[in-house]
């Protein structure tokens, strides 16, 4: 008996020790931040909003983004332009954890659920909420532009919220109204001066103008409701930005280099650029765009883009007799100076990466190869031998700049049928002046080439709408805007056209850089001892679509 009692007693004692001390076992993280201890000060809010900036596109995305448009032909071919985009099983824009997708939205919504706990002045709290809502608006704008209708979420969900996360898409009208509400909050509450390249009131205004112009034109060209509401919002946002007198176009008064320099300087102009993604050698945050342009993977501008540049005197290249059969060696003469600062051309010379102490040379385009059309990009190219190396470029990526705000204002006014010569002088003609080009007037004649490209433009201001589109294409080329321009104008068919390259009349030898000796030959069979690079032209079929949502 004695032993049974002992056994029972010991079981009771040990059992009670284990179970009664459950609380005593509490252990809390010692190296991470508990939510209860955060959101106390404005500094906490700032720490959290810092995490939103990862959404800002990289230099590659901006500077190489026109690969998915009719501005560029790429190697390998862009799947969307080719019409071969299939719904992928995973899409970085539609995934759980991607920094560009729903995980990003959840982070913003989590902040918006918690920021008001901070012990800070309302203005400070609202400023940070403004940053969060600005990025949420940007996120949803990207989602709507890519997928159309998407579900709108303004709260975080738990794994039990089955009904919420299995909800169908919301109509784009609902989503875009919410986007507009976010933008209005941001504009109303963001501070006007903040540290360099952070979000402030004017960034929000510029984005509001961009997003509302997108939505207004998308609806107008699809006969959807409330197109004018968004066009008006776009117009007003752009005008408020212009009237604030915070920004001016970058210029040193030298139209032959200003445009080029704006995009290749180490530190981009803060007078023109409203938001940029900064790159700096001393912080070891650099990109590879110069190396990409110089390197093996490649792309080049299409003939259709090159043709859209006017002559230096303001007349149209496409009005010149025989323009269609003008060769690479001829077509760059007396053109809009921005053309010579955007594409490789016979007059362009740069450091020879394989002999940097030697004279600058003409980089012959690798036609048919890395530069399929012949018109290799030089916008954003840093002509510095140290920056041609992969991962060594440090020019900042312009995310949105004043030039675009001017073009938004002009386009919105024109689409609303309200545009005046004064508006043109305030906007497009400022860009023309910086580029050394004559002014655009309301009386400009209708361009049949543009009219054919954009057949759905109508109304009394058709001529001027088309010219504003030309100006926009030229000024903002390679800034990752063209694809969505085509989408909102409902001219995706332009992607299905055969992309053309430089014109060559036939077999023979060609002196591309006009130095007196030929660099290229077009031949029918490979010579046994070729002395010149071989040339071929690519013809590519293309079309477009909205993106499908992956199954999960």
């Amino acid at each position: 008996m004695c032993k049974n009692k002992f056994l029972l007693l010991s079981l009771i004692i040990t059992g009670s020790i284990v179970t009664s001390c459950k609380k005593e076992l509490d252990r809390f993280p010692i190296a991470t931040i508990a939510p209860q201890t955060f959101f106390k000060t404005e500094k906490d809010l700032e720490l959290f909003t810092n995490g939103f900036y990862g959404y800002i596109p990289s230099a590659q995305t901006i500077m190489e983004g026109d690969g998915q448009s009719d501005n560029q032909e790429t190697v390998p071919r862009n799947r969307v332009v080719e019409g071969a985009h299939l719904i992928p099983s995973t899409d970085s824009r539609w995934s759980t954890n991607s920094s560009l997708s729903w995980g990003y939205l959840r982070n913003i919504n989590y902040f918006l659920e918690n920021y008001s706990k901070a012990d800070a002045p309302d203005a400070a709290k609202n400023h940070h909420a403004g940053i969060a809502r600005f990025f949420r608006a940007w996120f949803y704008y990207d989602m709507v532009a890519r997928f159309g209708d998407v579900p709108w979420y303004s709260k975080t969900m738990s794994s039990e919220d089955t009904e919420q996360f299995n909800r169908p898409r919301d109509p784009r009208t609902l989503v875009m109204d919410s986007v507009l509400a976010d933008l209005n909050f941001a504009v109303a509450n963001l501070r006007t001066t903040t540290p360099l390249w952070t979000i402030h009131k004017y960034v929000a205004l510029a984005f509001k103008a961009r997003i509302c112009l997108f939505e207004g034109t998308w609806r107008k060209y699809r006969q959807l409701a409330d197109a004018d509401k968004f066009l008006t919002q776009a117009k007003e946002a752009a005008k408020e930005l212009i009237d604030a007198n915070k920004y001016t176009l970058y210029t040193t008064g030298n139209p032959d280099v200003d445009y080029y320099n704006l995009f290749q300087m180490d530190a981009i102009s803060t007078s023109e650029v409203i938001l940029a993604r900064e790159y700096r050698t001393d912080l070891n945050i650099m990109h590879s765009v110069t190396a990409d342009i110089n390197g093996g993977y490649g792309w080049a501008y299409t003939k259709s883009l090159i043709n859209s540049y006017l002559m230096k005197d303001g007349s149209r290249f496409t009005d010149k007799p025989g323009y269609a059969t003008m060769t690479y060696m001829q077509e760059f003469a007396n053109r809009d100076p921005r053309l010579l600062q955007t594409s490789v051309n016979p007059f362009y010379k740069r450091f020879n990466p394989s002999n940097i102490t030697g004279p600058k040379v003409s980089p012959n385009p690798r036609i048919g190869g890395a530069n399929p059309t012949g018109y290799a990009q030089i916008k954003f190219y840093q002509d510095d031998p140290n920056k041609v190396i992969y991962g060594q470029s440090d020019n900042d990526a312009p995310i949105i700049r004043y030039a675009e705000a001017l073009l938004i204002y002009a386009e919105a006014r024109a689409e609303l049928g309200e545009l005046t010569q004064a508006d043109l002088d305030l906007t497009v003609n400022k860009l023309r002046a910086r580029a050394g080009m004559p002014a655009l007037t309301m009386a400009v004649s209708l361009d049949p080439v543009l009219a054919a490209q954009y057949p759905n433009v109508s109304g009394p201001m058709k001529n001027i709408v088309l010219e504003i589109r030309r100006e926009r294409r030229v000024e903002l080329v390679s800034e990752n805007l063209r694809y969505l321009d085509l989408m909102r104008w409902k001219v995706g068919a332009l992607l299905a056209e055969v992309f053309k390259g430089a014109y060559f009349p036939g077999l023979g030898e060609y002196d591309l850089n006009l130095d007196g000796s030929p660099e290229y030959a077009i031949v029918t069979a490979q010579p046994t001892n070729p002395t010149l690079a071989l040339l071929m032209l690519l013809l590519i079929q293309t079309y477009f679509c909205l993106m499908g949502i992956p199954a999960i």
Binding site: D26, Y53, T156, T198
Partner: protein
């Protein structure tokens, strides 16, 4: 009558501290034209320290009694407690003034980086055991333990884990005496028991804000740190239990020369701590780890040992061998997967299942492509032509596809194999005679399927990426109109591994043609030895002199195609399976002298 009561207390205090320093030195190199010197990397110094404190207390009492010679009883009960704390800190600073004096203070970078980590856990336990033996024939053991851990929420902390095992030595029974000359010893064993698993991170149930250090953007002229929303945690999280039933028999036969044992077991894992079913992406974060699954494993294990010696040429030759063979298979018995997604676990799924298409060789011509079911949903970059893989239209709908990848709609997918190693075996034997000895150890897997994986460049060569090495097994086996029976299809880059995970495009389609037989056998060790006779070495004043030759991993039977992958090293990494440090063939010869 004699009995004993004993008590034991042990307390362990462990304090482990460590310091480390890393120095970074940049490498300079010249461009091919020797016009520029480029610096790769930056100089820097990292200094770190870490400390771990572990306190373990164990106290138990034991009571032992033998009654009337035939009854033996032992009772034990105790408590234990463990407290664990670990932390580490490190500082890193770039741009040393002089790489010869790497010191934090003598570096220039104004942005030093700091990292800290740490965690704690606590565990309390109580346990008891009763052993009872009657007449050395009947054996019984009862175990009970209770554990409480800090890793689970306060109401889910305690787990109870009882177990019982019983043995019957039938060979000791009177009725067995007639058999005892043949079966020298026989014992039946049975056990039923429960074990707990708390293998989750220290704070799995607590939501913490995440900080990943500096952001990648430059804002305000610097790149500041940021804090991010916590992931989801489960409101209830508790012990995973493994309940095992085991039935075994041990036999010794033929004058104890042959001994064998056989076990059959069923292991049920209840409330497995695992990631639950996938949820829609719009949730924005991974679903939290929960007690999401039940699994059942059925298996068996067999051991055969033989020991004997006899005389050869007047000297004893002793030899033995041992053979072990085992097998098991696991089935999912509970998992919430309402849509029946085949990528996830579902009830009835066998762990290791490989879903894929049935390969039907290559297309022979464009007409063949046109006449075959439409494969365009599986297109990669090049469309389908002669020389491209062709698949069987299992559901006969005129299209080759993967459906919705669910149990009800899986298109032309079917289960084509299972990557669980089956029939794993080991065999060793040794023979000794007159100072000579030989031993050999073999090991292997009897049955296994293996899919190379779409990033396994070692296997796919240029089909994976044009920049892969040019492998002979690829180059020699490429389809051409002249070589229509080749193993690999029409030659092109980016045909596999370039479409993202689980993409089912082009050669990324899992299919029978490239499914590998992962069965193998390897000679892990072979040793030849000779001990010099005692009478010779004693004269030299030595105790033992041994000469030997030994080889490790000296040969194998590898059933994978072209034998480019090692079936024993199929570990996965982001660059596919098989990119593991290879097993080395090692040969050694030696001389051991004992004085």
């Amino acid at each position: 009558m004699n009995n004993k009561l004993r008590g034991f207390v042990s307390y362990t205090f462990r304090n482990i501290t460590g310091n480390n320093q890393d120095n970074y030195i940049p490498i300079f190199y010249q461009t091919a034209d020797e016009t520029r010197t480029i610096q790769d990397g930056r100089s820097g110094i990292g200094v770190g320290s870490n400390q771990t404190i572990q306190k373990v207390l164990n106290a138990y009492m034991e009571y032992e009694q033998t009654l009337a010679a035939k009854h033996y009883l032992k009772v034990m009960a105790g408590i234990g407690s463990e407290r664990y704390h670990t932390e580490s800190n490190s500082i890193f600073r770039n741009d040393l003034i002089n790489t010869g004096t790497p010191t934090l203070q003598l570096a220039l970078d104004p942005n030093s980086s700091f990292t800290s980590d740490g965690g704690e856990y606590a565990l309390n336990s109580a346990y008891s055991r009763i052993n009872y033996t009657y007449d050395n024939k009947y054996l019984l053991e009862l175990n009970a333990r209770m554990d409480a851990t800090s890793r689970f929420p306060v109401n889910d902390r305690v787990g109870y884990f009882p177990s019982v095992s019983a043995g019957w030595r039938i060979s000791e029974e009177g009725f067995f005496s007639g058999l005892k000359s043949v079966i020298n010893d026989a014992k039946f064993r049975f056990s039923y028991g429960s074990l707990g698993n708390q293998d989750v991170s220290y704070y799995e149930y607590i939501a913490s804000l995440r900080s990943e250090g500096k952001i990648g953007n430059i804002i305000g002229g610097t790149h500041p740190p940021a804090v991010y929303a916590p992931g989801l945690v489960s409101s209830s999280l508790t012990w995973e239990k493994q309940n095992s039933k085991n039935l075994g028999i041990d036999l010794a036969l033929l004058k104890n020369r042959l001994s064998t044992s056989f076990d059959y077991y069923i292991r049920d894992i209840k409330d497995m701590l695992t990631v639950p079913q996938q949820l829609p992406a719009v949730l924005g974060t991974a679903p939290p780890l929960t007690n999401a699954a039940d699994l059942r494993t059925k298996g068996w294990e067999m051991t055969l040992t033989w020991n004997d010696k006899f005389n050869v040429a007047g000297s004893p030759l002793s030899y033995n061998f041992r053979f072990v063979l085992s097998d098991n298979q696991t089935t999912i018995t509970k998992f919430n997967n309402p849509n029946g997604l085949i990528k996830d676990w579902y009830v009835g799924k066998k762990v290791g299942e490989i879903w894929g298409m049935i390969g039907d060789g290559f297309f022979t011509s464009d007409e063949d492509v046109a006449n075959h079911a439409d494969q365009s949903e599986l297109d990669g970059y090049y469309g389908f032509q002669a020389g491209d893989p062709k698949y069987v239209d299992l559901n006969g709908d005129g299209k080759i596809n993967i459906g919705k990848q669910t149990l009800t709609d899986h298109g032309d997918l079917t289960i084509i194999g299972n990557n669980t190693p089956r029939y794993t075996f080991g065999f060793n034997t040794s023979v000794a005679w007159k100072g000579f000895d030989v031993s050999i150890f073999l090991q292997g897997v009897g049955k296994r399927d293996y899919w190379p994986g779409d990033r396994t460049g070692y296997f796919w060569g240029q089909y994976f990426a044009p920049w892969e090495q040019v492998y002979k097994h690829v180059i020699d086996n490429v389809w051409t109109p002249e070589n229509p029976d080749a193993y690999f299809p029409r030659f092109a880059g980016w045909r596999v591994g370039d479409f993202g995970l689980d993409a089912w495009r082009d050669m990324g389609v899992v299919q029978t043609r490239y499914l590998q037989n992962g069965a193998y056998m390897r000679i892990k060790n072979l040793t030849l030895g000779y001990n010099l006779p005692a009478e010779i070495i004693n004269k030299l004043g030595l105790k033992q002199v041994r000469l030997y030759l030994s080889g490790e991993n000296i040969g194998e039977i590898n059933k994978t195609k072209f034998k480019v992958l090692d079936p024993e090293a199929l570990t996965s990494s982001s660059w596919g399976t098989g990119k593991a440090y290879p097993f080395q063939r090692t040969y050694s010869a030696g001389l051991n002298i004992t004085f």
